[in-house]
Each structure stands twice: as structure tokens, then as C-alpha cells.
Amino acid sequence: MPLIRSSAAELANLMATGEASSVEITRASLDRIAEVDGEVHAFLHVDAEGALAQAAEVDRRRAAGEELHALAGVPIAVKDVVVTRGLPTTAGSRILEGWVPPYDATLVTRLREAGLPILGKTNMDEFAMGSSTEHSAYGPTRNPWDLGRIPGGSGGGSAACLAAYEAPLAIGTDTGGSIRQPASVTGTVGAKPTYGGVSRYGLIAMASSLDQAGPCTRTVLDAALLHSLIGGHDRMDSTSLDAPVPPVVEAANRADVSGMRIGIVKELTGEGFQPGVQKRFEEAVQHLVDAGAEIVQVSCPSFRYALAAYYLVMPSEVSSNLAKFDAMRYGLRVLPEGIDDPSAEQVMAATRDAGFGDEVKRRIILGTYALSSGYYDAYYGSAQKVRTLIADDFARAFEVADVLVSPTSPTTAFPFGDKMSDPLSMYMQDIATIPANLAGVPGLSLPSGLADEDGLPAGFQILAPAMKDERMYAVGSALEKRLHAAWGGPLLARVPSLVKEA
């Protein structure tokens, strides 16, 4: 099998046995990027030189007999919302064009210390706001399954680079589904850890109380390996959990669901879900039953307020988090037209109008409204109470079920432009992923198959109680095994080659 199609765990084995070097593997990824990224546009910035230097360093350390991390030498792509010292970081926004951070996010420090060559920065909806990557200021990423369709969002670049075999691993961030929904529509795996499980230090914040970074991979085991590497306490993040990383790798390896109670959330299935997506979901559930799991039906009545609560809490935090982009200290500075001697205030307003895209402006204005005096209680205050109701629903559901499952996204990948003029229909993409962010619980998406009606990937979501992330890896890994057996290999084996026949 060519290097680019191997999983991270397989690549780690090849390096351990001396069958491949990190430089060879990294070069293979870089070659593939050169070959297909013109079409896919998963990357905003590629750092071939830096990646190869890191790869050579790992090869040297390995040759010297140093003890290395399991993923040492496996190249990785990093979503452009994560700051990287010396590498341009834009969060998909014009307002940060050309900005080179003077520091690394904590998770990037961990990647560097473990010796993972960083291939580059992946495309995304501007400031992670969107479900299609169409809101990137630098043009959309295309779905390798169908270049006329969206790769999901906001982390479309991180998911697409995996599906296009440009990278074996990627970092994503998930505020309302930005890791899981792109995974779902690209036939890849993505996990949002428990809130606080991975440090947020160095993630350009969208909504602080919802944001969480996590692994984007092609297999459940790879996700567990990467989760385990980037997870764990960070004293630079006050909301970081001071607890050991859950035993996710062990759970993924064991893949044991016998006796587990799998809860099907009534509110997250059926109506509103594409028939092919729903069908693959039901088959996947049957696979779990065959593997020895028990199915229970649960109801989470407050979930129907989740989308509304999310679109108040998130924009409120956005309006404050994005205030720092003001043309004073970094990033774009635009002088207003027709004003001779503009004030700082006028330059701020002109820059923010020119530098932010429509969706970002919409959310800032919406959040400014939700927090303003006189409306706070009705909007932000009510939304925060709904969060409590949703957390209570989860708590009750987890009394009778060990994990909860649903389709990840209600549809498969849709064509470009389909939902751009209708924000609400775009927001509906995250209907099943948002509750986990509101309550802080972990969620994982893996492919459940191709929908009959369009032949595009559908996703299966597993939610676990806070700090019980290992459960979703156990279930995901067990399901993945059975599905691979049924399909005769991974789903991604069927992705179009992207290389034009000569």
C-alpha cells in the first residue's frame, strides 16, 4: 500500500521497523499535496521545509536510539485557527492575512515535542463560523468525494486533506460540530473531547465556553492516539481539566462493546434526517447489537431548544472574542475612504467592515444585541438556562445509557452555494452535534457508509459522559471493525483518485 494511504498507526509501525523514514512519509504527503491540493484546496499554507526538517530530526533521534512518542514522525495538518509560531495563521479571515504568531498553541507545542512534522495550515470557515468552508476568505475547500460539494465546516480543510490522502492526521476544532460534521460528510473520523480535555491555549477563540480542539483522522485508533497526545492538563488554560487523559487508546484497541448500553436519542433521529443517512445509522446500530451491545431509547426533550440556545451563546461570546481584531496591534489596517485624518475609532470600524466576512459580521451583531442591556436576560440569560436543561437531559440519559448515538449530520455533503443565502438552513447542519458542545460532553463521528440516494458518506455520532471519552472510542472502534469487514475495507478506499488519467 502506498505510504499516503496508510493510517498513522501503520506509519508508526513502518518507522519502528525501519521500513520507512519520517522524511519519506512526509515527502509522500507533500508530493500528494502538490498533486491534488490545487483541486481540493485543503491547505492555506504548506510548510514543506519545516515539515521535512522536523522529519529529518525525528529520523536522527530514532537512529540515535532515543525513545520516541508513538506518533513521532507522522506528519500532521493543523487547522488555521490554531496559532503556530513562525507559520502564518489567519483563521480563514482577511483580517489576519499575513499574520505570523510569535508563539505556539499548547497543542502545537505538544505536537512539536512529540516530533510530528507539521505539513501546513488547513482551510476553514472564517473564524470557524460555518458548516461548509464556503465562508473562508481564501476560497472554499472541495470535498474529495465530489469536487462540486462542500467538505463540511468549519474544519473542511482538515477533513478534506485526510479524505484526499494529503495527510494522515489533522487537528480540528469543534464549537458546534466543526470536527464531527466535516468528518461525517468526508467519510473520515473526528472527535471532540470533553470540554477542557485539550488545552484551548492558542486556539483563536470563537466561543470560549464551547470551543474544543480534537483529532481528525481516518481511523478511530488514530484519533485515540492523537487525542492522547494533545490532551491533558495545561496551566495556561484555566478551563483545562486537571485530570489524566481518559484511556482512549486502550479502549480503541480493545473495541469491546459487549454489555454496553447504547442510547438512541429520540430527538436526534428520524424527521429532518436524509433517508440514506438514517438508513446507514440504523444498520450501524444493528452492527453494535451484533457485537453484544444493548439498545435503549432515550429522550432529551430540551434538545429542541439547543440550536436556538447555541445561536445566542455562541454569537455573544463571538462578539466579545472578536473585538480584539481592531487594526491596532496586528493584522489588517484599513483606512476609511473619504476621511482625511481618521481617528482610531474610524480605522477600527473601517477595518472590521473590510476584514470580516458576512457570516462573521452577522454573528457579531447578533451577539452584540443578545448581550446589550435590556435584552440580556431574554436572550443570553435564557440561553444559559437552556444549557442547564440540556446538561440535565444528558445526565438523565446517561443514567440509562453508557453512550448516546445519532447520525452526525442530517445530510450528506451538499453542493456549493446551496445554503449560502439561507443562514438558518446552514445552521441546521449542526442540529445533532450542538448539544454536546452546550453540555461539554465528548462526541465522535465515524463513517457509517454511503447514502443510497447520492453515494456520499454519512456519519455516525457517539456521545459519552464528560471525562468518559474512552467509551466513544470503544464503541467507535468496534463499529469500525464490523463496518470494514462488511465493506471489505475502509470506506475511503472508494474515494475518487483525484488524479486525472494521463
Binding site: 496559532v83 488554560d237 461570546e317 477600527m348
Partner: protein, 509 residues
């Protein structure tokens, strides 16, 4: 340069006659922590621009705050010293507004959940009365950067073409202490304002939480003031005079605003709710930003920080370890030392209380301590432009020296004049009092025979004076002692001479 024309002012007496002032004071204190409130950058004053900044305090994308534990502890100690209740659970909040010297365009502060609330501070006024200032709250927040306005006249914001921002100060911990509105202060309002700020400054200094240097901006005061007509119940419209940064200015600013409001109200005009700038040079305020309902800080709980929930045990530990409040300590020591009000005032003005207390602790008498730490050493210190404690520290002079000197007097080795000589020698760097006395040969003549002879001689030579003393005019004895001492060539024991004269002339000593 002031931007506005001179305000019409009403005479102060007329203001008092017609109106009641309502006053509120907001004091911002920079804590003396080693690092900033939410990051590990140093807080050294006067550092080169932008050398004490990091991703957090520069508000770089992705950075996150982490609370300084000592910042929280200091806030609680301040709250306790101000007799406040300490919140069992409270949060930080974001105060959202745009300003170039505020890196995140929100200030991390506290809103409806301050760490300390409902306290009071008793301040002493010049007439000896005490006024109780009610404290609304004390909360934690962070400072902003500093802007240098370029291109306009003398660095002012008006007329500047651009500004240069240094973020070294951004993120330094601040405690904002807010009083409740003070009603009924009447004509004493300016004095109360000043006394409150002075008392607060001493209190914070005593706590060791801040260097409280108003001239360096580590303590800043905003004065809110309104007038209401005599007999009215509703407060008038207030002005907020910002950054009044000396004790004298606080007093003047209150007075100025009272007179300005008085003139406006008397003329049937409205007081505009606005911020005012205080001008130290002219002693006037000028209009700043108008407060409109456009101002909407959109406070909400800071999602990047978790709640602060100080345990009651910890709070009680901190309370038990608080130093005695300065006013209480002053009162206690004055009583214990038997100082008159006048003596006490001199001691405080000269900053001698700590030295005296240490000297007493080392075995000296309060009177001797006060005597030796005032006088000659004070004269020399002021010639150097220093206060006594600084000057004494520079000489390596400790309370033990005063105790030693006093001991030499009480043991009878030195008389007062000799002790003064010995002290001068000490101040000249000649050594300890004993060493100086030895070197200079200072030693009372202990020969009682010689003293008796001298006394008898002097009584015989001054029959008139002796008669007066026999008749009970004991104060006349001074004249005879002087002559005895002269006869003894300065080495006599004046106290012994006095006792002997009185005995010879049949008077009780």
C-alpha cells in the same frame, strides 16, 4: 492648556447654604504583585516600552488568562481591612468597549459579583470627629496600556495626529474600591474626600498590597459628585471627575465641582451627566465624554476564567493575619506612650511611629525614643531631603542605639548634655554611644563630696534665691542647678544636684 472656557462658579458658602452634596469616590489601586493579574509578565514600573508583554496581556489571538493567586489574596485582604463581606463564590466578567490601549477591547473585571462588598472605613477629620465612609464594593480587574499622544500640543489627546501605545501596564492587577453615595457631608465633603483617600492609602500601605504612589498612578481616584437642593430627596445629576491623583486635588476637585454644579443649578441649567477631566495646574475640571445610553458595556461572565470561591477557612486565616488598622494602632500607641495630641501629630508628620515602636520594643522609654528620634537627627535628615527612618537606615542606625544611650543616662554615666554630645558623635559615624562616650571622655563626676561642696557654695552665694526656694518657690531651683553644673565643669549630675539643693533648703524633691 484647557479646552473649555472658565465655568461659572458659585461661592462655596452659598453652595452649602442652598444645596446638599452627594459624593461617591472610586479608587483604583494597582497591586504590588510580582506579575500581572492574568499572565506571568513582570510589573516593574518604568521599564522600556513593550518589554513586559506576552500573548496574554497583548491580547494576541488564542491567548488565555489565568488568575494570579496573590491578586485574589490581596483583594480579599483589602476587603477584610475595609470591613467588607467576602463573596463565597464570584466570577470575573467582561466589560466590553473599544479603546486602543485595551488589548482585548474588553476589560476583565467583576460586575454583579464583586469579591468584597458592604464594608466601611472610619476616617478622622481635623476637628477630631470620625466620619464613617460606607464601602459599596471592592473588585478585581486589570489596568490598560499607556498612550503617548504625538503631534498635538504637549502630549495631550486633543489635536494629536497619532498615538504610541506601550502595553507594559496592560494587565497589571487593579482593585477598584467604590464607596456608597455619601449623603449629609455638607460643607465637610471636600475634607472627607481627602481624609478618606488618605486613610485608605495608609490602610493599603499597612497591608503591604500596593506602593500606593498617587504620583506614579498606582493609586487613582475618580470623584462622583452631585448636588441636591436642601430638603430634596432625589439625587441630582452627577459628574464623574476622572484621575484626580493627589490628596490636595481630591479636596479641590470636590470643592470645584460643588461650586460648578451650584452655579449651573442656580441659573436653572442642567448638570450634564459626563466624565470630567481634572487639571492639576488650573485647579479646574473640563468636560470629557458625555455619558449616554449609547454606553453599553454588555457585561457577561468571563468564559475563559472559572469562578473564585474562597473557602471560609482561608478567609478567616487572612482575617486573623491582618495588621492592626493604622488609625487604631495610632490611638493605641498614643495612649500607651502618653503622648499629647501635639506630640503625636509631630511624631506622625515626621513618620517616626514605627521607629519609636521598635525602640520601645527594644527596651527604650517612649519619651526617650521620641526625644532622640526627633531633634538633631531630624534636622540632619531634612538637610539631606530625607525622612528620619530613611536617614537612620542610611547610617545603619538601629533602635538599639537609642536604648543604649538612654541606659547611659539612667545609669548615671551621662547627663543630658553629655548624652547629646554622644548622640552627635553617633550621628557623625564615630560608633555606638558607648564608644563615642569613651572616646570623648564623657563621664559624669560621681564624686558626691565634690557635688555637696559645689551645692553648698552656690547656696551660700545666692541667699535670695535660696530664700525663695525655702518659701516654696521650687521652680527657682533651676538657676542654682545651672551654677552647680558650671562649677562641676559640666560633669555633674543635674538630677542629683537638684535633689541635694532641695534637701538642703528643706523642700521635698
Amino acid at each position: 492648556m484647557s479646552t473649555s472656557t472658565t465655568d461659572a462658579l458659585m461661592g462655596y458658602d452659598e453652595v452649602i447654604e442652598r444645596f446638599d452634596p452627594v459624593m461617591g469616590l472610586e479608587v483604583h489601586v494597582e497591586l504590588g504583585t510580582a506579575t500581572k493579574m492574568f499572565c506571568g509578565c513582570a510589573t516593574t514600573f518604568g521599564a522600556e516600552p513593550n518589554t513586559q508583554v506576552c500573548p496574554v496581556c497583548l491580547g494576541l489571538p488564542g491567548a488565555l488568562p489565568v488568575v494570579n493567586a496573590v491578586g485574589v489574596e490581596s483583594a480579599i485582604r483589602i476587603g477584610l481591612a475595609l470591613n467588607c463581606q467576602i463573596a463565597e463564590w464570584c466570577r470575573f466578567a467582561r466589560k466590553n468597549y473599544f479603546y486602543p490601549d485595551m488589548p482585548k477591547n474588553f476589560q476583565t473585571s467583576q460586575y454583579d459579583e464583586p469579591i468584597a462588598f458592604n464594608g466601611f472605613l472610619d476616617v478622622e477629620l481635623s476637628d477630631g470627629s470620625t466620619y464613617r465612609v460606607e464601602i459599596e464594593r471592592a473588585h478585581m480587574e486589570e489596568d490598560t496600556g499607556k498612550s503617548l499622544h504625538v503631534g498635538g500640543a504637549t502630549g495631550r489627546i486633543h489635536g494629536a495626529t497619532h498615538s504610541l501605545v506601550d502595553y507594559n501596564r496592560a494587565g497589571i492587577p487593579l482593585i477598584e474600591i467604590v464607596t456608597k453615595p455619601m449623603v449629609g457631608a455638607g460643607e465637610r465633603a471636600p475634607e472627607i474626600a481627602r481624609a478618606y483617600v488618605a486613610t485608605l492609602r495608609d490602610l493599603l500601605k499597612g497591608l503591604g498590597v500596593s506602593d500606593v504612589k498617587m504620583e506614579q498612578g498606582s493609586m487613582r481616584c475618580d470623584v462622583n459628585l452631585s448636588l441636591m437642593a436642601k430638603g430634596a430627596e432625589a439625587f441630582g445629576t452627577r459628574s464623574e471627575t476622572k484621575n484626580v491623583n493627589s490628596l490636595r486635588s481630591v479636596e479641590r476637585a470636590v470643592r470645584y465641582e460643588m461650586c460648578r454644579h451650584g452655579a449651573l443649578l442656580a441659573a436653572g441649567e442642567k448638570v450634564v451627566q459626563e466624565t470630567r477631566h481634572w487639571h492639576e495646574d488650573t485647579g479646574m475640571t473640563t468636560a470629557g465624554r458625555e455619558k449616554s445610553d449609547a454606553e453599553d458595556y454588555r457585561y457577561f461572565p468571563e468564559p475563559d476564567l472559572v469562578p473564585v470561591a474562597p473557602s471560609r477557612e482561608w478567609v478567616e486565616e487572612l482575617r486573623a493575619a491582618l495588621p492592626e488598622p493604622p488609625a487604631q494602632r495610632r490611638k493605641r500607641l498614643q495612649t500607651a506612650y502618653g503622648f499629647s495630641d501635639l506630640e503625636m501629630r509631630d511624631v506622625l508628620n515626621a513618620g517616626l511611629l514605627d521607629l519609636i515602636e521598635e525602640t520601645v520594643a527594644a527596651g527604650g522609654s517612649p519619651a526617650a525614643a521620641r526625644k532622640w528620634w526627633s531633634g538633631e537627627i531630624a534636622r540632619r535628615a531634612s538637610a539631606q531631603g530625607q525622612d528620619v527612618p530613611t536617614y537612620a537606615a542610611g547610617l545603619g542606625l538601629s533602635p538599639a542605639a537609642v536604648v543604649e544611650l538612654e541606659g547611659m543616662v539612667t545609669s548615671g554615666r551621662l547627663n543630658d548634655a553629655m548624652a547629646r554630645q554622644a548622640w552627635e558623635g553617633v550621628l557623625d559615624g564615630e560608633g555606638t554611644p558607648t564608644q563615642v562616650a569613651d572616646a570623648r571622655g564623657l563621664q559624669l563626676n560621681q564624686d558626691t563630696g565634690a557635688l555637696e561642696a559645689a551645692v553648698d557654695e552656690v547656696i551660700a552665694a545666692n541667699p535670695d534665691v535660696a530664700d525663695k526656694i525655702r518659701d516654696g518657690k521650687v521652680q527657682a531651683v533651676g538657676a542654682l542647678i545651672g551654677q552647680v553644673m558650671k562649677a562641676m565643669k559640666g560633669q555633674g549630675d543635674a538630677a542629683a544636684a537638684r535633689a541635694l539643693i532641695l534637701e538642703r533648703l528643706g523642700q521635698p524633691s
